[in-house]
C-alpha cells in the first residue's frame, strides 16, 4: 500500500514536475531549435502538463465520437493497488525488493495491457476499427474492432492480448483477454496471471481529453476485481516518434537490482 495509496497523487505530481523543470531550464540555456517530432524551445516540455486544447468532442460522420489523436497519459500512478492473492503478493514483494531488475520492459519486451509507457500513443479511428499505436512499449499496437466480430473461439496467449470492442452510446468498450503472464502491470512489478481480463471504457468528454475507466479482473492473481480511471490529454503539435528499443540495449546485463 505504501506505493499506491495516499501518496499516489503526490507521486504523480512529483513525476510530472520532475520531468518538466529540467527541460525548461535547459531550453533557457539554448537547446537546439528545430525538430520534426514535436515542438522545441520554450513550452515544449510544458506539453507534459495538461494544457490540452479546449473545444467540443470531435465527431465521426456517423455522429460517434472520434478518438483519433496523439495522447499522453496524465496520471501515471492511477492504477493503484489491487488486492492480491498470497502468491501474487509474494511475487510482487520479491520484484520490488529486487528493484524491478527483471522487468520485461528492461529487455525491450512489450509492456502488455493496460500498462503505459512514458511516451505518447496515437489512436487512429475508422467506422469499424480503432488502432492504438504505441511510441514506447516497443512500438506495440492494439486493434479495437467495432464490427461486432468479438473474440476468436481459440486465441493464443499474447503479449497484448485479443481485444473485442463495441459502442455503448458514446463510449467504446474494449474487452481484452488472452494475455500471457509474462508482463508486469506496472514498473514496480505488479503481477497478473494468464486469466487477466481487462475491460476499458474509452470516453472523449471534450476535444482535449480522453478518459478510460479500467477494470482488471484476474481470479488467479487478485482477490477481487480492481477498477481505476486513467486520463490522457491531447497533444496537438506532437507526432509519435520512432523508438527502436533493441537498437542498443546495453542495460540488460547491468540490471543487478540491490
Amino acid at each position: 500500500m505504501r506505493y499506491f495509496s495516499s501518496i499516489a497523487a503526490a507521486c504523480a505530481t512529483v513525476a510530472l514536475v520532475s520531468y518538466l523543470p529540467l527541460a525548461t531550464k535547459a531550453q533557457d540555456k539554448g537547446g537546439d531549435k528545430g525538430g520534426k517530432f514535436g515542438p522545441v524551445g520554450p513550452g515544449a516540455a510544458g506539453q507534459r502538463k495538461d494544457n490540452a486544447p479546449k473545444g467540443p468532442t470531435p465527431k465521426m460522420p456517423d455522429g460517434k465520437p472520434d478518438f483519433s489523436g496523439v495522447w499522453t497519459p496524465t496520471n501515471f500512478t492511477a492504477m493503484g493497488q489491487p488486492s492480491l492473492q498470497p502468491w501474487a503478493d509474494a511475487l510482487y514483494k520479491e520484484r520490488r525488493a529486487n528493484l524491478s531488475k527483471d522487468d520485461p520492459e528492461g529487455n525491450c519486451l512489450p509492456a502488455g495491457v493496460p500498462r503505459i509507457s512514458p511516451f505518447p500513443m496515437k489512436l487512429v479511428q475508422t467506422p469499424i476499427l480503432i488502432v492504438m499505436l504505441e511510441e514506447g512499449n516497443v512500438h506495440s499496437y492494439r486493434q479495437f474492432f467495432l464490427d461486432g466480430r468479438g473474440h476468436p473461439k481459440v486465441v493464443d496467449q499474447l503479449w497484448m492480448g485479443d481485444s473485442a470492442a463495441k459502442w455503448e452510446g458514446d463510449t467504446v468498450v474494449v474487452d481484452t483477454i488472452a494475455l500471457n503472464d509474462k508482463t508486469w502491470l506496472n514498473g514496480q512489478g505488479l503481477p497478473h496471471s494468464d486469466q487477466l481480463h481487462v475491460v476499458e471504457r474509452y470516453q472523449r468528454p471534450d476535444l482535449g481529453h480522453l478518459s478510460v475507466d479500467i477494470t482488471l479482473d484476474d481470479p488467479k492473481a487478485f482477490t477481487k476485481p480492481h477498477t481505476f480511471n486513467r486520463t490522457y490529454s491531447l497533444l496537438t503539435d506532437w507526432e509519435i516518434h520512432e523508438y527502436v528499443c533493441n537498437e542498443f540495449n546495453v542495460d540488460a546485463e547491468h540490471l543487478v537490482g540491490k
Binding site: 520531468y19 525491450c108 542498443f248
Partner: protein, 139 residues
C-alpha cells in the same frame, strides 16, 4: 583521486514514485548515492535507443586516459526537450554530472559505466538534461 573526477556520497532520498522515464528501473542499474562529476572531452555520441550514450575521455593523475560512457535519456525524449544528435559533438569540452553503475563493471568496450543527469559545455550551455533517476531514483 583521478583528475577531474569526483565521487561524492549523497544521502539517499526516499522516493516512491513509479519509474516513468526509462524502459528499465534506474535503481536496479545505477547507484543514486554514487554521484559523479567528470570533466573531459566528448569522444563520441550515440543517438540510439533505448538511451542515447555519451563517451567522455578524461585523464587521471598520471595522464592515463579514462573513458566514461554515460547513459542519457532516449532520443525521442531528448528531441522533445529541444536537443538533436548535433547538440553535442566529438571534441566538445564538457562536464558531466551523473551517477555510477551499481555493478561497477565497465561496458564491453572497457569504458566506465554511468548515467548522466546534466552535461555542461565549456561555454556554459547545458544539454541532454534529465535522467531516469529523476523519477525512479533511490527508492
Amino acid at each position: 583521486m583521478s583528475l577531474g573526477v569526483r565521487i561524492a556520497t549523497a544521502a539517499a532520498l526516499l522516493g516512491s514514485c513509479m519509474p516513468i522515464m526509462a524502459h528499465h528501473s534506474f535503481a536496479a542499474e545505477y547507484d543514486a548515492t554514487k554521484t559523479i562529476s567528470v570533466k573531459g572531452v566528448v569522444q563520441k555520441v550515440a543517438w540510439v535507443n533505448p538511451h542515447a550514450y555519451v563517451w567522455v575521455d578524461t585523464k587521471d593523475d598520471t595522464g592515463k586516459v579514462i573513458t566514461y560512457a554515460f547513459e542519457s535519456l532516449s532520443p525521442n525524449a531528448l528531441a522533445r526537450n529541444g536537443w538533436t544528435r548535433n547538440s553535442l559533438k566529438t571534441g566538445d569540452q564538457v562536464t558531466v554530472d551523473g551517477y555510477l553503475a551499481k555493478d561497477g563493471k565497465p561496458l564491453s568496450d572497457g569504458s566506465v559505466h554511468g548515467n548522466s543527469k546534466l552535461i555542461t559545455l565549456s561555454d556554459g550551455r547545458k544539454v541532454f538534461a534529465g535522467s531516469s533517476a529523476d523519477n525512479a531514483a533511490t527508492k
